[in-house]
Symmetry: C2
Subunit: 180 residues, 2 copies
Amino acid sequence: MRADAKKNYDHLLAVARAVVQEQGADASLRDIARRADVGLGTLYRHFPTREALLEVLLRSSLDEMTAQAAALETSNAPDEALVTWLREAVAFTKNYHGVTQLLAAALDDPQSALHASCVTVRSAGARLLSRAQAKGKARRDLNGEELFALIAALAWLGDQPSLGRHADHLFEIIASAIRR
Amino acid sequence: MRADAKKNYDHLLAVARAVVQEQGADASLRDIARRADVGLGTLYRHFPTREALLEVLLRSSLDEMTAQAAALETSNAPDEALVTWLREAVAFTKNYHGVTQLLAAALDDPQSALHASCVTVRSAGARLLSRAQAKGKARRDLNGEELFALIAALAWLGDQPSLGRHADHLFEIIASAIRR
DNA sequence: ACCTGAACACCGTTCAAGT
DNA sequence: ACCTGAACACCGTTCAAGT
């Protein structure tokens, strides 16, 4: 990448992060380009789709979640490890409003730039779940896909204006249902 | 209302119902007016906001849910009555994609045309819940607002492309957590 | 190799002009 | 009293023209 292109890319990303944190995942791409003092075409070539942009924005957070799951796998309280990780997974969306819907859609679309990251995170959670299940510390009638769906539902809930304030309590109820 | 106005109103509503069932709650209002062979201004005067339009579209379904809750209050198995009603409440969204978010937002906005209906439905659910609680058939650390949030989360889940197929199973898990 | 911004096809919302 | 559709301010996406 040429030096000037690299500069545009980085600046665009920084501006996009600020705008998305402020306005959510469906922020205006035009607005991002405008605030970055860059032509709209420049944004589109660096990030051909909205998913591609969000993939770069979210990658580090998603990687972190996967890494933390791996770290928690060595814990000797597999149910607490699972719940701890779930809590962080749900909390992750706090800084990025409206992102849950996008992640759910990405899971269904192998073409999406976000697809791979979603699958990886889901697998990481699945491993924590089955470890807890193997030790009899989590209900067995639940699989990785369902766990991911629960996380998404709780994250969505936390993102809704009037419903969000119940997210924590409902998380505890559901977490205890998972532990059984 | 004048006869010609009434005719437009009814036709608009029928077309809107079809389009919303097909494309979801965020369907293009322009498209609805176009398909109804009616000026855009006509749609806007009959339904000044999108919420106003959806309020009329959903009213009968929402009223039905409230009525059914009332009917179930006479059941002598309060926990089953509650779960039966919850199941229907979640299923209600099937025909109207993307409506859950709107209902959640309406709950937070007293100005919304959908506000009153949402509050009514929530109260109906709350009564079923507290009846079950009074008989020791439902966990006590749950209130009507939280019950509504759970319904919304499960309805949202059912509406997501890849997550939806787990909605039924997750409903059962959560329902049994409510019954305790 | 990279950038720009006009162009196109949409959208929600308003409102002067018509019947 | 009611209807129409142009007008305005946005949006996502593409692509010819520039450097």
